[in-house]
């Protein structure tokens, strides 16, 4: 009982108390963020500068992570890759949450609208995520914006279903009935009474979408259907250099590890946050 009445807001202290690994993950994410913001100033080389003499140099000074088959500095490219990672993560999360969130909430609240909208979502969900992304990417040009939109759309479908479920649960809560008796209208019920109670689970969901988006974007890059090849993203770095893996095994190591550490960190943070959620919503969250 005591548990049920605790305020369910996510507090940083509660999330990371006793979870040292998750705290390390959060620190790593901060580093990535700083790298992303300051990449042009921190990077020792121009990420696009080709130096045929220095092709496939092993890691060491001055090329911290070595160079690729064009002789471009892997470390500088990795720093700029952090930008792409953050951009794609934040962008697709925003699209997924706003679009999917609205569709899910409105569908659960207005039952008749929900019948139509959720059937449409069912159809989208009949496609495995990457497959839907592949087809959509074929329709569009390869660009950063399009990649973000496509990944965002794919997870908007998932998010709408999750929000649908959570809103349905909340909608039957007594305090919603109480607000209705106080005379609250639809807008107030949706955005003053329902939405604030979903913010914490939405935040947790956002972290998992962020992680999925990284892996999805890397996979699209790898298949040659993601970001334009000239964009220095971790996925593109892997995709372009993969044929050199036997000659220069370290080449794929750094961008790969960067993806793994970042996704791992986001997942850890999401997992830690999920533990401090209202238990009713825990099962709705889709994540690792």
């Amino acid at each position: 009982m005591i548990d049920a009445i605790k305020n369910r807001a996510i507090s940083i202290r509660r999330v990371f108390a006793g979870r040292k690994v998750a705290a390390l993950g959060a620190i790593w994410l901060c580093i990535v963020l700083v790298a992303a913001v300051f990449a042009p100033w921190v990077a020792p080389f121009d990420p696009l500068e080709i130096d045929p003499v220095a092709r496939l140099t092993e890691p060491g000074a001055p090329y911290l992570f070595g160079t690729d088959h064009f002789g471009r500095d892997t470390f500088s490219r990795a720093l700029h890759g952090a930008r792409m990672a953050i951009l794609i993560g934040v962008g697709s999360v925003l699209i997924a949450l706003i679009l999917g969130g609205l569709v899910g909430m409105l569908s659960a609240y207005f039952t008749k609208l929900g019948h139509v909208l959720m059937r449409a979502v069912d159809v989208l969900m009949a496609f495995p995520a990457l497959l839907l992304a592949l087809v959509l990417m074929t329709l569009l040009e390869r660009s950063v914006a399009n990649t973000i939109i496509v990944i965002g759309l794919v997870y908007a479908a998932t998010t709408s279903r999750i929000l649908f479920g959570m809103t349905l649960k909340l909608k039957n809560d007594v305090f919603i009935d109480a607000a209705r008796c106080s005379g609250a209208g639809h807008f107030s019920l949706l955005f003053r009474h329902i939405l604030p109670n979903l913010l914490s689970p939405l935040l947790v969901q956002a972290t998992f979408i962020f992680a999925f988006a990284q892996l999805q974007a890397a996979a699209l890059d790898f298949l040659g259907l993601g970001l334009p090849p000239e964009v220095p993203s971790w996925g593109n770095m892997l995709s372009e250099e993969r044929i050199y893996i036997t000659r220069a095994p370290w080449l794929l190591l750094f961008p790969g590890l960067l993806i793994i550490f970042s996704v791992f960190s986001v997942n850890l943070v999401g997992d830690a946050m999920r533990d401090s959620l209202d238990p009713r919503f825990k099962d709705d969250i889709a994540g690792v």
């Binding site: 305020n7 809560d173 109480a178 008796c181 009474h193």
Partner: protein, 269 residues
């Protein structure tokens, strides 16, 4: 009896049974199956019965949280069930509800002040925040709480305190009818007594009419003027409380009264 404030005639509420919906559309659960009663201004009528008898559904129809299948409900002369959501708005203020579960009935994300202000603002009973705050503080005082609780959140309060806040929310708009759905059954005995006293006092002071829904016959006897016993969607007996307890007529009422465990009255009291 004077002109009734609330007049319920032949109210029916059927729910479709989800288990059988696919093949037989007509198989319905008859939650409320032809219920009629009246409440006079300032009167306390209780609906008493066991779980699943339909008493809660009656309350939810009267606050339009549930739709009626058939019947007529008139509230101070207005035919309530046929109204659109929009037409009902001015009436909504006059029919307020107190809920059973004090832990679930307050929005955990709103402060006590926000919760209590909401109905004032919606029904334009206060025109600015200062006025609203004054009314909220007045109301809180009436339910035995101080102005220090304004900025606090529901989880900081015990069940009894939350139920007081719930009562304040219902009373703050000065309604004509309060529907109290098991308002004390989630509370501990000693707190239940405090809240019952409070409800009774506020009711007497404001002269609001009340539909008191409960499964607890002792509580019902304490608070009501008249009592309606519900069983399987119908009212089987409706009488003045003393008469109902002293000379129960219906079989079911007698069975109910017999089943209640009695506490031997000690000599000391």
């Amino acid at each position: 009896m004077s002109e009734p404030l609330l007049d319920v005639q032949g109210l029916k509420v059927y729910f479709s049974n989800p288990a059988t919906r696919l093949f037989s559309a007509h198989d319905a659960i008859k939650a409320v199956d032809g219920v009629s009663f009246q409440i006079a201004p300032g009167e306390v009528l209780s609906l008493v019965g066991e779980s699943g008898c339909g008493k809660t559904t009656v309350g939810r129809v009267l606050t339009r949280l549930e739709k009626a299948t058939a019947g007529r409900v008139s509230f101070s002369g207005h035919d309530m069930l046929d109204m659109s959501q929009h037409e009902f708005r001015p009436l909504r203020r006059h029919i307020q509800m107190i809920f059973q579960d004090p832990f679930a009935s307050l929005n955990p994300r709103l402060t006590i002040e926000q919760t209590l202000q909401e109905p004032l603002m919606i029904h334009k009973l206060a025109h600015n925040r200062a006025e609203a705050r004054r009314l909220v503080v007045d109301m809180l005082e009436k339910v035995g709480m101080g102005a220090d609780v304004l900025g606090r959140f529901p989880h900081e309060f015990s069940g009894g305190q939350r139920q007081r806040i719930g009562i304040a929310r219902a009373m703050i708009v000065k309604p004509q009818l309060i529907i109290a759905d098991e308002p004390v059954s989630a509370l501990d005995v000693s707190i239940q007594a405090q809240v019952l006293n409070l409800l009774k006092r506020l009711q007497a002071e404001s002269g609001v009419a009340m539909l008191f829904i409960s499964h607890d016959l002792a509580v019902v006897r304490h608070i009501s003027n008249r009592i309606a016993v519900m069983h399987e969607g119908r009212i089987v007996e409706l009488a003045q409380k003393t008469r109902l307890f002293e000379q129960p007529e219906h079989d079911y009422t007698q069975r109910l009264l017999k089943a209640i465990p009695r506490i031997p009255t000690s000599l000391g009291a």
